[in-house]
């Protein structure tokens, strides 16, 4: 009995880590936008939803090979990120935060309705069933392993970009002093566009990974949008490392909570944990005490 239980525990912990990788990728995109541009893309998960549809159409409907369809999907969502910034955010940069929030919230409903009209409310999937890896008594689907690996690789690429290029250096620094950045010769509008494209590309990568595991429908964003947002807040909005830590913490609570009870209870525990943490550390897990 004890042996079997330990196997389940180990499986749950590893599942939690796998889930954490994908959640960390989701949080990174949202954090990047918030940290650099100081706006919250409430509609971030809806960009991912459109990305999932894009991959579905490229791969399943038009029959493109995956190595063409997946990069094309990332590109499409990156362009969507650019457009979102250019059309919605840029005119509101100096507006009060509540207006920006309402505007991206409006985009959320617009995109949901648009997807309903354009794609219908049917659940769709790629029709790929990746095999399951059996490690002793534990079972992991290759889709989740692949998602974890790709999410990690995506995050490493972003990390290298942020530390090894001066555009990345500027992106890391800009939230500290926007005015001086412009006076140092940085075209902040261009920096925002680059950031929006990267944020969109991360959403596109997440879309590719999620559509391997889940069906896509116009409201699929609701199943991971709120949790992404909570992870970012828990880690401290705009704090990349905090978001990373919070994603794995959240994933572990969901996974272990699901082990001892139903999967839904895992989410209940995670949200309860969030509420408690907001009382203890309202500025985020890794907030510097001042």
């Amino acid at each position: 009995m004890a042996d079997i239980f330990d196997v389940y525990l180990a499986e749950a912990i590893i599942s939690g880590i796998l889930l954490g990788g994908v959640l960390a990728l989701l949080a990174l995109g949202l954090n990047l936008i918030f940290g650099v541009i100081d706006v919250t893309w409430i509609c971030y998960a809806e960009l991912i939803m459109l990305g999932m549809y894009a991959l579905y159409y490229f791969y399943s409907v038009y029959g493109l090979p995956m190595w063409v369809a997946a990069p094309a999907c990332i590109l499409v969502v990156a362009v969507l990120g650019l457009l979102l910034h250019y059309i919605v955010i840029a005119p509101l940069l100096d507006a009060p935060p509540i207006n920006q929030l309402l505007a991206t919230g409006g985009v959320l409903f617009f995109l949901q309705s648009f997807a309903t009209v354009a794609f219908g409310i049917d659940f769709r999937n790629l029709g790929i069933r990746l095999p399951v890896l059996a490690l002793g008594e534990m079972h992991f689907s290759y889709a989740r392993l692949l998602a974890f690996g790709a999410a990690l690789a995506g995050m490493v690429v972003v990390y290298l970009f942020m530390t090894r290029t001066y555009i990345g250096t500027a992106i890391r620094a800009i939230s500290q002093d926007r005015q001086i950045m412009a006076l140092m010769g940085v075209d902040t509008r261009r920096l925002y566009l680059v950031t929006s494209a990267i944020g969109g590309a991360l959403a596109g990568l997440a879309a590719c990974l999620l559509v391997l595991q889940y069906d896509v429908h116009p409201f699929v964003g609701l199943s991971f949008g709120p949790i992404t947002f909570l992870i970012c807040v828990l880690g401290g909005l705009g704090n990349f490392i905090g978001g990373f830590v919070a994603a794995f913490l959240f994933a572990q609570i969901i996974s272990l909570g699901g082990l001892y009870s139903d999967l839904e209870w895992g989410y209940v525990l995670a949200f309860a944990f969030f509420i408690v943490m907001m009382f203890i550390r309202p500025a985020g897990l890794l907030a510097r005490r001042s």
């Binding site: 290029t165 001066y166 250096t169 500027a170 890391r172 620094a173 500290q176 002093d177 005015q179 001086i180 412009a182 006076l183 140092m184 010769g185 940085v186 075209d187 902040t188």
Partner: protein, 255 residues
């Protein structure tokens, strides 16, 4: 090199800069002095594009600057330092300077090169006497070090004209002398034209070629340091606490 004509800046009903015209010749150091609120920093902010002038023209090497955004002005070859140093504390000293070099250079072409930015950063750090250690943190710098960092950031953009804003505030006398000599060396060795804004007249008078004095947004005097410091209008403006300084500066300038 720089020709400013009929410059005005109004904030609501308040005229911060009132019909100021001046020229800067290539290779000179122009001192810009005046009491607090006389419009020195407002002029600097217009020259560097922080905000546009209400009226007037700013021509640099024949091209109009009035109304251009800051990054375009820096790319034309005008660097500036700030009265209060504003480094990015999350970046290293080297990253701060190299970032300024990366984005500030271009000479209009706007082409960015990492290698060139690193080279400029190394040169700029050497010119101001800061270590070129890539990992050194900004937090270790004192007031004088932060001023040097400001100067290095401006130099890394490889400017033709340097706008130095109250470079010496917060320094002791010895550090002030060093900083003044550094500005002169930057002009002599690197051939960079400088406009230097300062409250403190004494040290400035020793280094600058010409001085322009502002009061209440208007130019009240301009000329050689010796002429300006014996100008009755200037003495009147600096009367009180600064009157003796002014006369001492005049004496020093005549020597």
């Amino acid at each position: 090199m720089l020709v400013v004509e009929g410059l005005f800046k109004r904030f609501g009903g308040f005229t911060a800069v009132n019909n100021v015209s001046f020229k800067v010749e290539k290779g000179e150091i122009l001192g810009l002095i005046g009491p607090n609120g006389s419009g020195k920093s407002t002029i600097f902010n217009m020259l560097s594009g922080t905000f546009p002038p209400s009226a007037g023209s700013i021509r640099f090497e024949g091209g109009e600057l009035a109304g251009l955004p800051p990054h375009k002005i820096i790319n034309r070859g005008i660097g500036r330092t700030f009265q209060i140093p504003r480094p990015f504390r999350r970046l290293s000293i080297f990253e701060n300077v190299a970032l300024a070099g990366y984005y500030g250079q271009g000479g209009g072409s706007g082409s960015h090169s990492r290698g060139k930015a690193d080279e400029s950063a190394e040169r700029a750090l050497a010119a101001v006497g800061l270590p070129a250690d890539r990992k050194a943190s900004v937090d270790g710098l004192g007031a004088a070090g932060l001023k040097k960092l400001e100067l290095a950031k401006a130099l890394a953009t490889e400017p033709k004209l340097l706008l130095a804003d109250e470079s010496l505030g917060g320094l002791d006398e010895h550090e002030m002398d060093q900083a003044a000599d550094m500005l002169r060396r930057i002009r002599d060795d690197l051939g960079i034209t400088i406009i230097w804004v300062e409250h403190i007249m004494g040290v400035l008078m020793r280094v600058v070629d010409r001085v322009m004095v502002l009061d209440h947004g208007e130019k009240i005097s301009e000329g050689l340091p010796s002429q300006v410091s014996s100008d009755p209008r200037v003495i009147e403006v600096y009367l009180g606490t600064d009157a003796q300084d002014t006369q001492a500066a005049a004496a020093e300038a005549r020597r």
